[in-house]
Subunit: 194 residues, 2 copies
DNA sequence: GTCTATAAGCGGATAGAC
DNA sequence: GTCTATCCGCTTATAGAC
């Protein structure tokens, strides 16, 4: 039973505390205690608290992308592939991303008005990945109107995440998926039951 | 040209700074400077910074409710009444609520993990008002399935707000309205063009 | 050479005293 | 209305342990 190195322990502690309690609400001291690491070690590895935050966000982005990938591959048809983001989200939240209250990236955006460079980059990457992927997945369904469909699904996904923050509706993933499905139905150039 | 009393100046300064730059990111000193008020005056009126935050949130809730009211009354039919929340939002954001980055209530939720009592109450009230009203407005459209339709519209509305935070899609209100309209179409027991 | 323990500097924020 | 006591959070310095 090897103990992971300090860097790894710090990242895990950051993921557990930062995105559950909040970034500003979590003092460095608590991160150090949770990780059982000395202050000097944190600053040697990450430079500043912001550096650790950015590294934790990037780790989260990687984990999320992998889960989403898997659900896209496993989906049965075009519509299911576009909706796979919701199944991936449900999966992610009960698995690797369990600690987060809603969405680590949106929460960081909300908390840090003008995020420092490494953090801002992580946030922008998340939204860029969502936009690009959803657009590609919407193309076979909506053709020329794929941008509108992708926007609709992005909004439903974002609404699902913020639904966790609001505490309503009760099951944001289920509602978000239904809403996105309705947007797909409205966007299909062919009649729904053709 | 009378100068408003200190209490009023504080509330205005709070509304302008708190919900634009963030609650934790705005020091009391800045509120005092913006309002041109002495520290003692703030603590005499509101007790603590939290007290001022809660009062500013309540003022915002009142203003929002009035704008929403007006758009519901002016709407032409059942569907338009349910969608009026989006027109109200567009109106609100260019008017009284202009300063806020996305949504004062969700932002406060995100920033303050365990909000103190007066703040938590304001947040809960906002979500309760949304839930009750949307349900009542969904009833004539969806009948027994009104709860599901109300959930869908709430999620689209929440997604619109969080869309401003994310910076995508470009025009969250337009996309949110379209998404909600698709949910209405899917929920109508009668065929859409009957 | 990586990590730990301790302590202390320093800016900033809240709250209340005067 | 000003002024200040007090606290808190981030960061670094120093010295030593595995």
């Amino acid at each position: 039973m090897q103990r992971p190195p300090a860097r790894e322990r710090l990242l895990r502690a950051a993921d557990r505390l930062l995105f559950d309690r909040g970034i500003r609400a979590t003092p460095v001291d608590e991160l150090l205690r949770e990780a059982d690491v000395a202050a000097a070690t944190l600053y040697a590895h990450f430079g500043t608290k912001d550096g650790l935050v950015a590294a934790a966000l990037e780790a989260r982005a990687d984990a999320w992308r992998r889960v989403w990938d898997r659900h896209i591959v496993e989906a049965a048809d075009d519509a299911e592939r576009l909706l796979a983001i919701f199944d991936a989200l449900a999966d992610y939240r009960t698995g690797v991303g369990g600690a987060a209250r809603w969405c680590a990236f949106l929460a960081a955006s909300a908390e840090l008005r003008d995020a420092a460079e490494p953090i801002a980059a992580a946030l922008a990457e998340d939204t860029a990945l969502l936009g690009e992927r959803l657009l590609a997945l919407a193309r076979p369904i909506a053709g020329d109107r794929a941008p509108e469909l992708a926007d609709a699904v992005l909004l439903a996904y974002t609404g699902t995440l913020a639904g966790f923050l609001r505490g309503s509706p009760k099951d944001p993933v289920a509602v978000g998926r239904r809403v996105a499905a309705a947007a797909i139905a409205a966007a299909e150039p062919l009649s729904p039951r053709a």
